[in-house]
Point group: C2
Chain length 405, copies 2
């Protein structure tokens, strides 16, 4: 009997993962706080409002080619064998052309540009060997972006190329959603920050969950360890009810030292306790005074799996941020993965791109406590509830969950 | 004739992209500077040295189950129908068991744990209903990580789960490669930072390239605009020869105002000028006093395509960082993409996940100057040199180049 099997025996039922997530997200409000940030600080942030172009780009008619700005009518009928004759001047006028470079403003009176290759200079005269239509080789006002054009909808996550576009329309700052705040509270009387004595364990879940929250766009506060004591746990949760979310790690199962679900039940509401996922079914989800409380299990791998399944979408929802799928890598499974029907299973794998084909080898799977099985893996394969394992040789999609923002 | 076609006419030959990248990377040295950072600041950084575990995890034999620590021999032959009788004590000894919880230290003298379910307490006595072997339900020292075990090789990019593992073995900081430094110098007499008059253009390439360099692990310095003047350009490049890399934007083609390749040729060496890629063939790559100088074209899309193709791998090489493939999304092409054999083409697309299948629709492709065609796209489809376009309905891989680190 594995640790998972044993602990599961304490749960009357386990909620399906999608339903558990839905129950949680129903109780996560978008915080609606916004701030204005300069463009250089906006990379990766989420736009809070629709952005339209206050100015067109380009802001003036411009030459799209090196050549001569002309009145198109003065070139009509021109050909190599019978060129039209123009002269070069300071201003464009009847039969008078002005030299222009790509991107320079189209001089007043011009309505087209003849490419430099089509013009031969003969003494004072310009022989134009081809006719151009009105507007030819001209980039009109607003060619790239029209004034008032919608560029981005609220919820768009800003990328470096967006910054260029935003700056080009004359914007210097944008209104973005504030990063949602999240308190990360590690719990467990056995936890220490360093130099463990026998029986003690170094705290790692809070650190990992904090860094994940940061990557996912949250603003984490990594709290000190709280021991397994009802009073202390209650006080710790109550202190952080001003945050958008609270995450606890450890003490979320049904043993005698698993006090957090009970504490949350006393001062709030437990929405879900026990989820049909592996590793990590002893997770609990609740709400205290409208602040969602995610009670993640203390086994490191179980904690991480649950953080990805519940903390990430909750943070995204709280901050009005898009929750995109993880990037995946297709690979051939090198060894079968076992799983139990009705339980969504996350099997950690090492990916090897070395050979003729990309392969995925499951890492040690015994025990959800083995931190190295996730930290030394490249991602995981998700086995859905309706399957009973995946056979060796099948093509699988490895989720690179740790690099997605 | 498009802008690309016109400018190309000035290039005698265009180097294939892979060869151009190779010539550049041969001249990019790994800087070898390292720094020690605390774990909480190490996320996303690249390890400079091999990391081994200074301590085993766990650091002591521990109970893997809730139950009773025993001498295994005292349980031999036990069964439900004929349980062995033990007593509970403070220390484990002959026929004396000690109550333990999952994760607690195995008491001296014990070599196994009997699960709580297998023990019935009858008055002072414990009825053990099943025999356990030596080591059963015990997590031995080093079960998760052995002392001295190699955890990571140099060049590994640190993820949140790695931080947990590193902390669990007693490390508080790690040695990482310094972020490579890169000067980003926008050039062009038409460029202004704001409020453009007719004929002026707002600088965007330098901003975008800086933020990309930052995302890719570099430490960018975004310089003021330098005008198209040999002296000024030379001084600007010479000032930044202390950086690991120099990037210029604009002025990299073969027109009369394209001075940077000539300047680099005077004070250093031009390795490549003109590459068989679209959009963005007028790129130049050079070296001045061992500092690579990447001369990116001034058209925004051309600048971005070249930054991804050349700046990203150069930064990774300079900083000893892994250069991973971009994540891709499979999609059905909604409209054909044209390309020219012998030229690698980057076609910007919008991805639509809404319908039954994921589709990719090419955005406006006319002109490499149209910033909105990349900023409003979701990625690009790469058409290799040996193909002549991609037909509507084909399955393509959309590179989400902007979200990869």
């Amino acid at each position: 009997m594995s640790q998972d099997d044993l602990q599961r025996s304490g749960f009357k039922e386990r909620t399906r993962i999608d339903e558990a997530r839905e129950r949680l997200l129903e109780r996560v409000a978008s915080h609606d706080r916004t701030e204005r940030v300069p463009l250089a600080s906006a990379d990766g942030r989420t736009l809070a409002t629709r952005v339209t172009a206050p100015k067109p780009v380009p802001g003036y008619d411009r030459a799209a080619m090196d050549g001569y700005a002309v009145r198109a009518e003065d070139t009509f009928g021109a050909s190599d064998r019978s060129p039209n004759l123009l002269r070069e001047g300071e201003d464009v006028g009847p039969e008078t052309a002005v030299r222009v470079h790509t991107g320079s403003e189209l001089p007043e009176g011009a309505d087209a540009v003849v490419m430099i290759e089509q013009v031969e200079r003969v003494g004072e005269e310009l022989e134009v060997g081809d006719g151009v239509a009105e507007g030819e080789n001209v980039g009109p006002v607003g060619e790239d972006v029209a004034e008032g054009q919608t560029l981005y909808e609220p919820g768009h996550r800003v990328r470096p190329s967006d910054l260029g576009l935003l700056k080009s329309v004359g914007l210097t700052e944008v209104e973005v959603s504030e990063r949602p705040t999240v308190a990360v509270i590690p719990t467990g009387e056995e936890l220490v920050q360093s130099d463990p004595e026998p029986g003690e364990v170094i705290e790692t879940n809070g650190l990992t969950a904090s860094r994940l929250a940061d990557r996912w766009g949250g603003r984490p506060t990594y709290r000190d360890v709280v021991t397994d004591d009802r009073e202390a746990l209650r006080a710790a949760i109550q202190r952080d009810l001003t945050k958008d979310l609270i995450v606890t790690t450890g003490g979320s199962s049904v043993g005698e030292r698993d006090l957090i679900p009970e504490v949350v039940d006393e001062i709030g509401e437990v929405l879900v306790h026990g989820v049909a996922l592996k590793p990590g079914h002893p997770v609990a989800l609740g709400v205290v005074e409208e602040t969602p409380v995610l009670m993640l299990p203390g086994y490191p791998v179980a904690c991480i799996v649950n953080a990805v399944q519940f903390l990430r979408p909750a943070l995204k929802r709280a901050g009005g941020m898009p929750c995109e799928d993880h990037p995946t890598t297709e690979a051939t499974l090198e060894r079968k993965i076992r799983s139990e029907p009705g339980v969504r299973t996350f099997a950690r794998v090492k990916v090897d791109r070395g050979g003729n084909e990309t392969t995925a080898l499951p890492t040690r799977v015994s025990g959800s406590g083995v931190l190295s099985s996730v930290a030394l893996a490249d991602g995981w394969v998700v086995v859905s509830e309706d399957r009973e394992g995946i056979a060796e040789g099948e093509t699988v999609a490895v989720e690179d969950w740790e690099w997605s923002a």
